[in-house]
């Protein structure tokens, strides 16, 4: 191979991996192979992390919707009065997100500027980071003191701490 004439009795002395051009070719191919594996692995791992984060986002959203006594006046209707009075710490202690995740919640009345926020603030770096933020936005019914119902929005943000 490669124009060199290895005599019959020298076969096996130089050996396959001592043949420099072939060795270089193998190194290049192995490099390409490991690079392609790495490129496949990174997005798969990122996606797995993202799915775990999304699940945690849903979990927190479900907990918020389930807290009847704390947040609701009627079934499935969030009380503006309670949101107004609710101390942030109380909600934090009820809705734990686990050590790996941080979160915040926002309730907003669609027809007005009124909104209530709980939890941590997102920094600009966290918003722009690759792992990103899982966000769930859902319509909710909010009742005021006069028992009138208003269409509102619940937004849950979850990100890795």
């Amino acid at each position: 191979m490669l124009g060199r004439n290895i005599k019959k009795d020298q076969k096996g002395i130089a050996g396959f991996f001592f043949d420099t051009p072939v060795l270089l070719l193998i190194i290049v191919l192995l490099f390409a192979f490991t690079t392609s594996l790495y490129q496949m692995y990174v997005p798969i791992q990122e996606e797995k992390d993202r799915i775990a984060q999304d699940r945690r986002c849903l979990e927190i959203k479900n907990r918020v919707q389930d807290y009847d006594q704390i947040l609701h006046d009627e079934k499935d209707k969030f009380s503006m009065r309670k949101l107004e009075a609710l101390e942030e710490e109380k909600l934090e202690s009820q809705i734990r997100s686990g050590e790996d995740y941080r979160y915040n919640l926002t309730f907003e009345v669609l027809e007005s500027e009124k909104s209530w926020s709980f939890g941590e603030n997102l920094t600009r770096e966290e918003i722009n980071s690759e792992s990103g933020v899982s966000s769930y936005r859902t319509p909710v019914s909010l009742v005021d003191e006069g028992r009138s119902s208003h269409l509102g929005k619940l937004k849950v943000n979850v990100w890795r701490g």
Binding site: L37, L58, T138, P139, S149
Partner: protein
């Protein structure tokens, strides 16, 4: 030696193909567990939309000499859908009856538009039918119910009109 090189190359190519297939399988799984949350969101949107109260809506009875507007105060969207289907069916079965139900339809659409699009950024279609009447509402122009996209999520709620079960189905997609 040439055999060894060829053998090595074949192993590498086969390995790459296998790993690409493996990665593809994981990507398909990712699509199913999409981070868009649509399978969860469709139930929330449907539940809240049906319970939402329309402060004032109505319809016009055109079958009398003077058109008569019927006002409906503080009714839920669920009630509005039932009224629409009931009146539309009645109109089609009685020659002398004629209703203008466009306000009722517009107000139902506005609530779904707020819940599905303004809040959650989903395109939507609502489909419901009762005997000969049919209600199809969407925020996509010129979309027929046969043309709904395949990657959609749906939630069906059963309504009762005159003792009959009527399905109202909400579809959402990005």
């Amino acid at each position: 030696m040439v055999d060894a090189v060829l053998f090595g190359l074949i192993i590498l190519m086969v390995s790459i193909l296998v790993f690409q297939q493996f990665g593809g399988a994981l990507n398909r799984e990712r699509d199913l567990e999409s981070s868009e949350f649509k399978y969860e969101a469709v139930h929330d949107i449907q539940k809240v939309a049906l319970d939402t109260i329309i402060s004032e809506t109505g319809y016009v009875n055109l079958s009398e000499s003077q058109p008569k507007r019927m006002r409906l105060i503080n009714i839920t969207v669920e009630r509005a859908i039932k009224d629409y289907l009931y009146l539309d069916n009645l109109e089609q079965n009685k020659e002398k009856l004629e209703y203008d139900l466009s306000d009722l339809e517009k107000d139902i659409e506005q609530v779904y538009e707020k819940c599905a699009w303004d809040v959650s950024q989903y395109r939507f279609a609502l489909e419901s039918s009762y005997e000969s009447s049919e209600l199809f509402i969407t925020n996509v122009e010129e979309l027929d119910k046969e043309d709904l996209p395949p990657k959609r999520a749906a939630s069906t709620t059963t309504l009762i009109i005159e003792g009959d079960r009527v399905d109202s189905t909400l579809f959402i997609w990005r």
